[in-house]
């Protein structure tokens, strides 16, 4: 108990933090470049979401220090992903709305 309540010094130094920060800036920049690409909305969505997931992963692992606690990392990831997947059941209905009913055209 005492060991847990005593604050732990985070691994790595400020150099690692700055490196992750620069990576996040570059990835954010890539998202802005993708926004100006001449591609379909679905392609743009997939590319932007992929970059955002990488950004989120870096922030979770290094800014929020999940990489230093494997057990907590799996708890957060599995729980969150399960919740997120549970929300995906309605997508087919959105396609039905836009493609399958007369007033959508």
């Amino acid at each position: 108990m005492a060991a847990a309540e005593t604050h732990s010094h985070q691994s790595g130094g400020i150099g690692k933090d700055v490196a992750v920060y620069v990576c996040l800036l570059v990835l954010a920049g890539i998202q802005f470049v993708i926004a100006y690409q001449d591609i379909s909305a679905s392609q743009m969505f997939v590319r932007m979401l992929s970059v955002a997931i990488i950004e989120g992963g870096l922030a979770l692992l290094f800014f929020m220090h999940l990489s230093e606690n494997r057990g907590l990392m799996w708890f957060v990831v599995i729980f969150t992903v399960a919740v997120l997947l549970g929300m995906q059941y309605g997508w087919t209905d959105s396609y039905r709305l836009i493609d399958g009913v007369p007033w959508s055209h």
């Binding site: 108990m1 969505f45 950004e55 929300m87």
Partner: protein
């Protein structure tokens, strides 16, 4: 001798039983674990909003693309990402018992948060000036402005709450009532606000950029 050995030989003392009962989950202090549970719950809130937005955007023909410039949102992104770095520096300073440095970086983080909020409100006022409200906008389906103001408003609320928390925790830390652990827990929340913005920007702004 381990805790298991104690129980096998029927020698479970009150002290060891208490230790078993109070062993924190994942060896994380209770307040940090509480923040992680809040973050997971809040992730579900934002995910619900973004999935609902994706649903109506996908199901709505001629979805508006009213954004002409990325300068403001790029600047806001830069400020929020930088504030995450300054928050990290504040926590590291606190862990090295550099109280003045930790407080200074904490306040710099709060100022960056305020700057982000000001830019955000300026953008809102610009859109409202063009005739956009929660239930109406001049570009097409009213669902656009409903989704835009709801999701960015929810995020702005989190940033505002975060700024208040940063200032309050910073002052109490300087006064000796809080320690480095409290700064780290506040930092977790601030990084989460930053993390959410990484998804809000592409989905709400960049996907609705007029070419």
């Amino acid at each position: 001798m381990s805790q298991a050995d104690f129980s096998i030989h029927g020698q479970v003392s009150r002290t060891s039983a208490t230790e078993i009962m109070t062993e924190p989950a994942f060896s994380v202090p209770a307040k940090k674990m509480a923040m992680w549970l809040f973050i997971i719950a809040d992730t579900a809130t934002f995910a619900g909003c973004l999935v609902a937005y994706g649903f109506i955007r996908n199901a709505t023909p001629d979805w508006p693309r009213p954004f002409h410039s990325i300068i403001n949102v790029a600047l806001m992104t830069f400020i929020l990402l930088t504030s995450s770095l300054t928050m990290l520096i504040a926590v590291r300073s606190a862990q090295k018992d550099d109280k003045a440095g930790a407080f200074r970086w904490m306040m710099i983080t709060a100022v960056l948060g305020i700057l982000f909020a000001v830019l955000h409100i300026r953008e809102w006022l610009g859109m409202i000036g063009e005739g956009a409200t929660l239930f109406h906008n001049p570009w097409g389906t009213p669902l656009f402005s409903s989704a835009f103001f709801s999701i960015t408003g929810l995020h702005l609320l989190h940033v505002t709450g975060g700024v208040v928390a940063l200032i309050a925790v910073g002052i109490r830390y300087q006064g000796g009532r809080y320690n480095a652990d409290d700064l780290e827990v506040t930092g977790l929340y601030w990084h989460f606000v930053d993390l959410v913005w990484m998804f809000v920007v592409p989905l709400i702004y960049l996907m609705n950029l007029s070419h």
